[in-house]
Amino acid sequence: MLFLKKMNLNNLTLKQAKEGLKNKDFSSVELTKACLERIKATEPKLNAFVTVTEKDALEQAKIADKALSDAVELPLLGIPLAVKDNFSTKGIKTTASSKVLESYIPPFDSTVIKKIKEAGCVILGKTNMDAWAHGSSTETSDFGASKNPWNTKHLPGGSSGGSAASVAADQTIAAIGSETAGSIRQPASWCGVVGLKPTYGRVSRYGVIAMGSSLDSPGPITKTTEDSAIILEVLAGKDEMDATTSPKPVLKYSQKLKKDIKELKIGISNEYFIEGLDKEVEKNVKEAIKKLEKAGGKIENIKLFDPKYAIDVYTIIQRSEVSSNLARYDGIRYGNGRGAFADEAKRRIMFGTYALSSGYYDQYYNKAQQVRTVIINDFEKAFGKVDVIIAPTSPSLALPVGATKDAAMFGEIADVLVEPSSIAGLAGINIPVGFSNSGLPIGMQIIGPQFSEELVLSVAFEYEKITQTEQWRKLKPNL
C-alpha cells in the first residue's frame, strides 16, 4: 500500500480510506490533517465551508485512532466527513447559511449527526448552502456563493453546493447533504460526484433545519457509489424522533451492489429530454444509457408526465411549508430578527403565505396536492413496466457565477428534471458520466420506486464498473 502514502490521503474514497485505516497504512489524524490542509489551501477559491471545526476534528481523529488501535470496528471510524450547515450539530454553529442564525449554536445533534458520530466519523466542518436551502446555486447564501472546483468561475449548484464542491475538490472523503428537490442530485451533477437522494422517510429529518417538510431527504454526497452505500447504511432507518421515518429494515446496501443488470428494465422518457436541454448533456447521457444496454439492460421507452407540471406543484407545496417553517424566526430568539432574512427567503415566505391564505388554499395548496397524487400514480404506473428510470439530472452544465441574478425561479427551473421524483418521494441517484468540452462535469440520474435504494445503487455501481477505465475518470480539478 506504499502508493497510498505517496498520494494525498484526502484524495481517497471512503472505501479506500477505511481500508487504509484498518491496515494501519495511515492514521485518522493523518487523514484528517490531509483534508484540513486541502481545505486551507482551496477554501479561498471555493468557499465550500461556513465553519471548519479543525480543533474538534483532530480531537475526534485522535479518539478514532485510539479505537482503531483497539481494533474497534465501526462503519465510519476515523473517516473525515463534511456536513451541510442545515444539520444541527451540538455545540457547533448551525446557520443554514442565513444571517438569521449566524450565531445560533444548537444544544442538540440532529439524528444524522448522532448516527455518523456513533459510526465513528470525524466532522471537518459545516458546508455552505443556499440560505435555508432555498436555491440551486449557493448564490443565496448569506456567506457568499461557493465555487465549482472544476471551474471556479462557475457555480457548484445547490442547495448542497458546499458539500458537493468539497467532495469534488477532495477537501473531504465524503459529505452529507440534504435534498428537497434536487439539492443533492443537482450539485452532485454539476460537481461530478455521486449524490444519493434516498426515499422520503428513509433517513431521519430530526434536527435538519426544515425547508419543505414533506420533501426533505438527507443523503450522502460521495466520490463513488460504494461510498454512498456505506454511508446510507449508517444514515437510514426508523427514528423515534421523526414520525415520518419508515420502519422498513435497513439493508446492507454496500454488500448488495453487485447485481446482474441483465433483464433489468430501464425506462427512458422523452419528456425528460426537454427542449433547451444542453446538447452535450443529452449526448453523454444517451451514450451512458447505451453502455448500460450493452451490459445487458433492456431499454424501454415510457411516457411520463411532462416534468414541467412538477414545477408548479413543487413551488406551491414547498413555499407553503417554508412560510410556516420560517415563522419561528420571529426576532424573539436566535439573536437576529426578521430583517435579517434575505430576498429569496422573503419571496418564499410571501408566496407561501399567500398560497395558504383562506380562499386560496383550495386553488393552490389543495390543487397542488391533488396533482402531486397524480404524479405519484404516474410513477407507479411507470414502475409497473420498468425497474428504474434514467434521465439527465440537470438540463444544463454548471452555470457561471451570477446566473441566478434576477432569476427568482432559478432553482425550480434548474431542478425541473429532479422535481417530479422528489414530489413522489422516490429514491434517486446522480452519477457522473463524463465531461463537456469546456471541462464541466455531466451527471445522469437513476430513479427507482420508493425504498429501492438497493436497486438504484446497484445500477449506478454497474455503470461505474463498466466505465471504470474511461479516461475522464482520472481527471481531478485543477485548483
Binding site: 448551525t94 443554514a96 440532529s110 424522533m241 414520525a243 410556516s324 419561528r328 424573539i332 395558504l356
Partner: protein
C-alpha cells in the same frame, strides 16, 4: 322586547399525561421553575420534529367516545399559523378539518341534548409573564407549558341559559375526571372555558348575525355571571335597535361584567394546512372498539345503576356518583357490608350525612362504625316501659314542657332512659314509647 339567548361553548381540557404532546418532556408544569421542562421540540428549535403522544391521542378519542361522538377512521394534524410570543414554532399543531371526534352530545337533566360539534387534539402554548426587572418592564416567556396536550371540545350553539351551561360543564368535568384523563381543575387552568353568546328575537329562525366570545373565565360560577351579564348587555343594545358588535370580551371578576378586548370583523386567517411532520392517523375499527371497551362506566350509567341496583334515591345516587372515587368507595363498602347485612341505604346515609373522610376510613372500618352505631340490644318491652314511666315520674317537667309544645324535651327523656338502661337500643322505638306514655 323578548329575546332568546343562543350560546355555544368551547372548552379546553389539559390532559394529565406524563409527557407532553409531541416530546418526552414532563407535562407537569404547574408551579415548576420556568423553562425547566423544555427540550428542542417544545422550544421549537430549528429542525426539531413533533412525534405525537399515543396516550394523549387515545385519551382524546376516549373523551369523544364518552361524549357519544363518532370517531372517523381517518384523522390528521394541521398547523394553525399565527404569531404570538408564547408560540414557539410560529404555529400551533392542532386539528382542522379532520378532528379525532365528531357529532356527540351530552344530555342535561331535563332531557335536553347539547350537541357536541367536535373534539380535537392540540398543544398548549408557553406562558408570558410581564414583570419589572431592574426597573424595566419586560415580558418573559416560560415554555414549561408549551406542548402540553390540550383537548378542545366544541358545542353547537344549543344552550339558552347560564344554568344549562353550568350543568353541561359540571357533567363534562365529571366525565373527564371519570376517564382519569385530566384533573379538570379550573384553578390550575386544566379546564378553560370560552362561551360565545348572542341573542335573537323570540321565534326568530336561524342564528344571529353576530356573536360575542368571552374569555378569562376561571370558574363555573363566573361563566354563569358572564353569560347573564352579556344577555342583559346585548338585550339593551338590541332594544335600542342596534346590533351588538362581533367581538371578544374579557370577564371582569370584581364587578361580574365583561369588557371589549378585540373586535373580530371576520374569522382570523390561520392558514391551516396539514402538518407535514406527522403522518395522518388511520384507525382500524378494532382499535376504536378496544378504546371503547376500556372506557370506565360513565357517570350517567353509574347513576342509573346505583338507583336500580342499590335502590338509592336520585339525590343519594347523584352525590355518590359525583366522583368516581366516592362511587367506588361506596361499592367497596357495600360489598363488605353485605356480609353484615348492612343495607345500601344505611351506607349511603352514613357516607352522605356524616361526610365520611373516604381517604382515611377504609371501607371495612366504615362498616364497623355503622354496625357499632346501629347495634341494638334486645330488651324486655315491659322493663323498658317501666323505666320510661319511672323517668317521667321522676321528671314531671318533661310532661309540662311537652304540653307547652317543646318537642325537644323528648330528646332529654330519651337520654334519661338510656342513662338508666346503659344499653344501646333503637331510639326511634324508644321515642314512640315515650310519646305513648305522654298521651
Amino acid at each position: 322586547m323578548k329575546y332568546k339567548a343562543v350560546i355555544g361553548l368551547e372548552v379546553h381540557v389539559e390532559l394529565k399525561t406524563n409527557s407532553k404532546m409531541f416530546c418526552s418532556c414532563s407535562a407537569d408544569y404547574f408551579g415548576q421553575k420556568p423553562n425547566t421542562h423544555t427540550c428542542p421540540v417544545c422550544l421549537g428549535l430549528p429542525g426539531a420534529l413533533p412525534v405525537p403522544n399515543k396516550k394523549a391521542v387515545e385519551w382524546c378519542v376516549q373523551i369523544g367516545l364518552a361524549l357519544n361522538c363518532g370517531i372517523p377512521l381517518f384523522s390528521k394534524f394541521d398547523r394553525k399559523n399565527y404569531f404570538y410570543p408564547d408560540l414557539a414554532k410560529g404555529y400551533q399543531i392542532s386539528q382542522y378539518d379532520k378532528p379525532f371526534c365528531l357529532n356527540g352530545h351530552i344530555t342535561l337533566q331535563n332531557g335536553k341534548k347539547i350537541g357536541i360539534t367536535r373534539v380535537h387534539m392540540e398543544e398548549d402554548t408557553g406562558k408570558l409573564i410581564h414583570e419589572t426587572v431592574d426597573e424595566k418592564k419586560v415580558s418573559l416567556i416560560d415554555f414549561n407549558r408549551s406542548g402540553v396536550p390540550l383537548v378542545e371540545i366544541v358545542t353547537e350553539p344549543d344552550f339558552e341559559t347560564a344554568d344549562e351551561v353550568k350543568e353541561y360543564l359540571q357533567k363534562l368535568q365529571q366525565i373527564v375526571r371519570y376517564l382519569g384523563v385530566s384533573n379538570a381543575d379550573m384553578e390550575k387552568g386544566n379546564m378553560r372555558l370560552e362561551p360565545n353568546i348572542s341573542l335573537k328575537k323570540d321565534g326568530e329562525k336561524g342564528l344571529p348575525k353576530y356573536k360575542v366570545e368571552v374569555k378569562n373565565i376561571n370558574s363555573f360560577a363566573f361563566v354563569g355571571k358572564a353569560i347573564d351579564y352579556e344577555i342583559k348587555r346585548q338585550a339593551e343594545i338590541l332594544d335600542e335597535g342596534k346590533t351588538p358588535v362581533q367581538e371578544t370580551r374579557g370577564f371582569v371578576e370584581k364587578n361580574s361584567s365583561t369588557v371589549s378586548q378585540r373586535v373580530k370583523e371576520e374569522a382570523s386567517d390561520y392558514r391551516y394546512f396539514p402538518e407535514p411532520d406527522i403522518p395522518p392517523i388511520r384507525w382500524k375499527e378494532p382499535e376504536i372498539n378496544k378504546l371503547k371497551e376500556t372506557l370506565p362506566e360513565l357517570p350517567n350509567v353509574k347513576l342509573n345503576r346505583f338507583q336500580k341496583q342499590y335502590g338509592l334515591s336520585l339525590y343519594d345516587g347523584e352525590i355518590l356518583t359525583k366522583e368516581k372515587t366516592l362511587a367506588d368507595y361506596f361499592e367497596e363498602v357495600f360489598k363488605i357490608g353485605q356480609k353484615n347485612r348492612v343495607t345500601a341505604k344505611q351506607i349511603a346515609n352514613n357516607i352522605i350525612n356524616k361526610k365520611v373522610d373516604i381517604g382515611n376510613i377504609v371501607p371495612a372500618k366504615l362498616i364497623e362504625n355503622i354496625l357499632q352505631s346501629e347495634k341494638k340490644e334486645d330488651i324486655n318491652a315491659d322493663e323498658l316501659r317501666n323505666i320510661v314511666r319511672k323517668v317521667l315520674k321522676d321528671n314531671p317537667g318533661i310532661k309540662e314542657d311537652y304540653k307547652k309544645g317543646k318537642d325537644s324535651v323528648i330528646q332529654f327523656a330519651i337520654g334519661q332512659v338510656m342513662y338508666i338502661l346503659k344499653k344501646k337500643i333503637d331510639t326511634n322505638m324508644l321515642r314512640k314509647l315515650i310519646l305513648e306514655e305522654l298521651k
